[in-house]
């Protein structure tokens, strides 16, 4: 009986090709949209995860932070509570493998001969290269000795090199930052765009001592990067850091901390949560079009029931039971939504591949959303097919036979 149902459903779809296709379109678009949008969401998460894990999972960051007291709280970046002394103390911690302060993240105009380029200038130390996985294209990174002597030396990213020097080799050349001359000692390898589409190669590094005293004239750090030794318990390292900081800053109540320590594991969690919410939201928006597609199926099935009233009457007169008629129309609705769902899956995968090929966005296609949206489209065929099918099966055979 199911086989008969499928054959009849197929015959009816073929007989009304255009109508079937238009009905399917709603489901096709819905399924394709769910798959494509969710793949974008997964892609964003993947990209962020990749760039975070490329930094190493045993990374901790110490930020200045406002004390958690009532009243007006300035933003974290404007806090001046993180000092070089803090860095020097934390450096002595047993579990610390590498540590680098960051002074700045300010934009300056960089000048070379008659060209200029505005970019971010960060003050760091020699460990920073390894903490952030930078490799050199030419020259070398900033050394401890240069940090010690507050030398005016700079390492530039490939974007900066390209824009200021073109084909020239920048190593050994003098550039001007805030009108002070700096000698370029190295050029970084290209890293490409970061998690949020920012250009990671548009950057200049100078010794943090130089940055604080000679460029910015400040006595505080903007953050400290710490890489824990392999195998160290990150949560313990984090609480050690917090304890040391509290002793140094004479804080008794952790509620009043004027700093923040974050480790990569917790950041990863936050990122997953955020991108998860975003993906869910994208998927939900797309799912609405699936729902609309379902209503389209119901609409067409109702038309089909009306059109075939006489046929239903004949079938009932010949002995078709309620169940047989319900099954016939239900199978038709499900076949429409299944075929639509299958085409939608193909289109969705295609769209997702097209997006990643045509734009810088990365997309990740996974089985979960494909199965889910396919199953959902089938469920929609069932749910929205029930009402027309029941309507057909409830027709009075006499009325149906006399229907013109």
């Amino acid at each position: 009986m199911y086989k008969e149902g499928f054959i009849m459903a197929w015959a009816s779809l073929i007989a009304n090709k255009m109508r079937s296709l238009l009905t399917m379109l709603g489901i096709i678009i819905g399924v394709a949209a769910v798959i494509a949008l969710v793949s974008i969401g997964f892609g964003v998460r993947q990209q962020i995860q990749d760039s975070i894990s490329s930094l190493g999972s045993n990374l901790l960051m110490v930020y200045p932070g406002a004390p958690r007291t009532p009243g007006v709280r300035p933003t974290a970046a404007s806090q001046k509570t993180l000092k070089v002394k803090d860095y020097e103390t934390l450096k002595k911690l047993n579990d610390v493998d590498m540590i680098s302060p960051v002074a700045g993240s300010s934009s300056y105009v960089i000048v070379y001969t008659n060209k200029n380029w505005t970019t971010t200038v960060n003050g760091i130390n020699s460990d920073f290269q390894y903490i952030n996985n930078w490799t050199m294209k030419s020259g070398r990174f900033i050394t401890d000795a240069q940090v010690e002597r507050r030398e005016r030396v700079a390492v530039i990213g490939s974007t900066v090199a390209k824009n200021l020097f073109g084909d020239e080799n920048p190593v050994g050349k003098d550039i001007r930052i805030k009108n002070d001359p700096f000698k370029v000692v190295g050029v970084l390898d290209t890293k490409g765009s970061g998690s949020f589409g920012n250009d990671q190669d548009d950057i200049v590094f100078i010794p943090y001592t130089t940055a604080m005293e000679r460029v910015r004239g400040v006595d505080y750090l903007s953050m400290i990067y710490i890489k824990a030794k392999d195998g160290a318990d990150l949560n313990r390292v984090q609480s050690d850091i917090e304890n040391i900081m509290r002793v140094r800053h004479k804080i008794k109540n952790p509620e009043l901390d004027d700093f923040n320590v974050r480790n990569m594991a917790t950041i990863m969690e936050t990122v997953n949560e955020t991108t998860g919410t975003m993906t869910l939201f994208l998927g939900a928006v797309a799912a609405i079009s699936l729902l609309v597609g379902g209503i389209g199926i119901m609409n067409i099935m109702l038309v089909s029931v009306t059109e075939r009233t006489r046929e239903i009457g004949v079938r009932k007169a010949l002995g078709a039971t309620y169940r047989v008629i319900v099954m016939q129309f239900l199978i038709e609705a499900v076949v429409i939504s299944l075929i639509g769902g299958a085409i939608g899956v193909v289109f969705g995968i295609g769209a997702s591949k097209l997006i990643s090929a045509a734009t810088s966005m990365k997309t990740v296609i996974s089985m979960g959303p494909i199965l889910l949206s396919f199953g959902f489209s089938m469920a929609i065929g069932l749910i929205f097919g029930i009402y027309p099918a029941r309507k057909a099966a409830k027709l009075n055979p006499i009325d149906a036979l006399h229907y013109e």
Partner: protein
């Protein structure tokens, strides 16, 4: 004594349209025996269509008893009625009511699908029935590719598909020319000779002369019920009433 196929006792049918009650059948008593070829005649409004619907288990009487093959059908459920229509009654309609997208063979096989007959058996029996009605060459034709007379023969083959106790024909010649009408009525005569029970509703006296028994309805009651010893279709012989 012949076997009673249909026993109807005091069947009444009243249609309710809002507050308006329209009585159509006022208490009909009728017994039809196996092998009878009964015609039901009557002017329009006499209730013959309503009576036919009840006889065909398409509709239920408001009151009264209807026993088909000894089973009371007046208070069966919808699905049980569908089963009765499928197994015990073969319908032939005025407007053929073939499914336009199915071939002649598929149309004949349709009642057997609902009876749960296997596909091979269905196709074989459908072909056999159509061949016996002279449509052996037309198995794969769609109804639209057949003449009116041929369509009605497909419909008769369909009515015979599940070997029912009764064939019910509602104005089977109403849409046919006179030549095709004679052909179709000759088929009914042949079925009668084979011993099948036939009920024929018609308003044409000519057609009624093919039957072995003539029933006339008027105003929801049987006005006349008499045997017809000179059946039009029989060659020389007389009816075995």
């Amino acid at each position: 004594m012949k076997k009673e196929v249909i026993v109807i006792k005091d069947i009444k049918k009243t249609y309710v349209n809002g507050k308006l009650q329209v009585p159509v059948l006022h208490g009909i008593n009728l017994t039809i025996y196996e092998g009878e070829f009964t015609s039901i005649m009557g002017p329009s409004g006499s209730g013959k269509s309503t009576f036919m619907n009840i006889l065909g288990c398409l509709d239920r009487p408001t009151s009264g008893s209807y026993r088909l093959d000894g089973e009371e059908v007046a208070d069966l459920s919808d699905d049980e009625l569908a089963y009765v229509r499928n197994k015990r009654i073969g319908f032939v309609f005025q407007s053929f009511n073939l499914l336009p997208k199915l071939t002649a063979q598929e149309n004949v096989a349709l009642p057997m699908i609902y009876a749960g007959v296997s596909k091979a058996e269905r196709n074989a029996r459908a072909a056999e029935l159509l061949t016996s009605l002279g449509l052996g060459e037309r198995l794969d034709h769609l109804p639209s590719e057949l003449s009116g007379g041929q369509r009605q023969r497909v419909a008769i083959a369909r009515a015979l598909a599940n070997n029912p106790s009764i064939i019910m024909a509602d104005e089977p010649t109403g849409n046919l020319d006179s030549k095709s009408s004679v052909d179709v009525m000759n088929i009914f005569t042949r079925l009668y000779e084979e011993g099948r029970t036939i009920i024929l509703v018609t308003h044409e006296p000519d057609i009624a002369t093919y039957a072995s028994r003539n029933v006339v309805l008027r105003d929801g009651l049987i006005e006349e019920d008499k045997p017809n010893p000179h059946m039009a279709g029989l060659k020389g012989g007389t009816a075995h009433v």
